[in-house]
């Protein structure tokens, strides 16, 4: 089992231009790892570098066993993963990765059906549907289920929330939290607030530098300087006056209401 992914002085360039310079630090299992930053700050390139697809890359990536080998150990869901569907049914789409790993046929179907159900899509309804006749949110869930069914050691998702409705976003966040308990799960996102808890591990990329924060440090910095990270206006308004408090609430109404009751 991989419990961390460590960078030592990692630098990435794009057509000769440096996009990440000397990044050190680690993603860990047991909690969600988020990568945030402005468009063009190198978030997706970092995922590609971990996957071994980004060639302009210097420095080291290590795991528990030494130098990290991406082949067979990662799953990378690109933005809009549903655009990569190539099978005639949802079931075939999910089974593909297991079939490539030569699992026994009955195990392939059992595991795929169970996995699809875990993503909130009952196999009796969805298994034999054509992937393209699903709604946007259902397609996204099928795509992410297909990318992760073989449970590789490192699971990376690039903007998995984009285009999902509130319910879809919530269930995806819950699902990822479960997988993260024993896998290294890395999520690139513009909506970190949905995933944020006290101990979320956040990497903020900005002007070629990477800075690591815990969830609560990140919230505090965002409240101190709006331009550091623009959190939703209602959260800034409600929690802003109590910035000095040790534990800031998560970005959802119930946590904030409980927090305000305690501090007022």
């Amino acid at each position: 089992m991989t419990s961390f992914l460590q960078f030592n002085n990692l630098s990435l360039a794009f057509s000769g231009k440096k996009i990440i310079a000397g990044l050190s630090g680690r993603f860990i299992s047991g909690k969600l790892n988020l990568v945030v930053g402005r468009a063009g700050s190198g978030k997706s390139s970092l995922l590609l570098a971990i996957a071994g697809f980004h060639k302009e890359c210097q420095g080291e990536i290590l795991d528990d066993q030494g130098r990290f080998t991406a082949a067979g150990n990662i799953s990378l869901a690109f933005q809009n993963p549903e655009s990569l569907f190539f099978n005639p049914t949802v079931g075939d789409e999910i089974e593909f990765a297991l079939r490539m790993r030569a699992l026994p046929e009955n195990e392939i179907t059992d595991r795929s059906r169970d996995w699809l159900a875990k993503w909130g899509l009952p196999p009796e309804v969805y298994y034999s549907k054509h992937p393209l006749e699903l709604s946007g949110g259902e397609k996204r869930r099928v795509a992410l289920a297909a990318c992760s069914v073989f449970l590789p050691r490192v699971i990376m998702l690039d903007e998995p929330l984009a285009g999902l409705d509130f319910k879809g976003q919530r269930s995806l966040a819950d699902m990822l939290a479960v997988i993260a308990s024993d896998h290294v799960v890395i999520v690139v996102t513009h909506e970190p607030e949905i995933f944020l808890t006290d101990d979320t591990n956040i990497l903020l990329l900005s002007e070629a530098n990477g800075t690591w924060f815990s969830g609560s440090e990140f919230l505090r910095r965002s409240l101190e300087h709006e331009d550091f990270y623009p959190l939703p206006a209602w959260y800034r308004q409600a929690v802003g006056p109590f910035i000095k408090h040790a534990a800031l609430p998560a970005v959802n109404a119930s946590s904030v209401a409980d927090f305000l009751q305690k501090v007022r």
């Binding site: 930053g37 402005r38 468009a39 063009g40 933005q79 809009n80 549907k129 006749e133 709604s135 946007g136 949110g137 259902e138 903007e159 984009a162 285009g163 999902l164 409705d165 509130f166 319910k167 879809g168 513009h190 331009d227 990270y229 623009p230 959190l231 939703p232 206006a233 209602w234 959260y235 409600a238 970005v251 959802n252 109404a253 119930s254 904030v256 209401a257 305000l260 009751q261």
Partner: protein, 250 residues
């Protein structure tokens, strides 16, 4: 004004499970931000495509400024331009200037006028220093702005945005909404935004909500707020939930 009169639509008539839009009627006007909300699969994007004239209603009529949205005839005024969720899907030029000029070339605009219009719109969207930049070198936010510029240059009467902010970082989202406010205030171009992000909804002034192909609410944001409790399909934005929680706990 955009007017939908008993509009229905179905992607695949032969298949029972195919999405169906059921007799929808509503209208929206310029001068305010019109928003279409609903869960995945509710029919939001179908509405956007019908208004932009990309698909033809099975029954009923869709008109923009009194003219039929679908097949309104060559040389007619450009009624409603649509900006899709993923900018890459609609960038066709190899450079910024080429992409902006593409629509004008299709409309047969003479070269000197084309050059002037490309420059003017690029200036408005802060792309004038980038006219010769290859489109693949732009950031996500810049690509989004390019798509808006490339549609705006054709001077459509309405702009339809399908999930415009879902690929933007939060800094660029703020800039996007500032530009939309400016556009709406000028009252020349109508704006309809399809989105399910609660942060976007905070900007909407007139809201149309869809569920399973049906229009289930239309009204102002305050009206929606008042009725929200009785609308089982509606997920309260966190800001409203907080107000409610604090209200009951006081």
């Amino acid at each position: 004004m955009i007017l939908l009169d008993r509009v229905s639509y179905r992607y695949n008539e032969k298949q029972e499970t195919s999405f169906k839009l059921k007799e929808v009627s509503f209208s929206c006007r310029k001068g305010l931000i019109n928003g279409v909300i609903g869960a995945n699969g509710s029919g939001k994007s179908t509405i956007a495509r019908l208004i932009a004239g990309l698909i033809q209603p099975r029954s009923g009529s869709v008109t923009v400024d009194g003219l039929a949205a679908f097949n309104n005839g060559a040389g007619a005024r450009f009624l409603a331009g649509i900006i899709f969720q993923t900018p890459e899907n609609q960038i066709v030029g190899t450079t910024v200037a080429e992409d902006i000029a593409f629509g004008l070339e299709n409309l047969g605009v003479p070269r000197p006028e084309m050059r002037q219009r490309v420059y003017n719109i690029a200036e408005k969207f802060e792309l004038n220093d980038m006219l010769d930049v290859p489109v693949h070198c732009l950031s996500g936010g810049q690509k989004q702005m390019l798509c808006v510029a490339s549609v705006m240059v054709m001077e459509p009467s309405w702009l339809i945005f399908d999930e415009p902010t879902s690929h933007l970082d939060p800094w660029t989202r703020k800039i996007f909404w500032k530009k939309i406010r400016g556009l709406v205030a000028a009252e020349k171009t109508g704006v309809l935004v399809v989105s399910q992000l609660p942060d976007d909804m905070a900007h909407f002034e007139q809201i149309f909500a869809f569920e399973s192909g049906e229009l289930v609410f239309s009204g102002s944001k305050n009206e929606l707020k008042e009725k929200a409790e009785q609308l089982p399909w509606f997920n309260l934005p966190e800001a409203w939930r907080l107000e409610k929680l604090l209200g009951t706990k006081k």
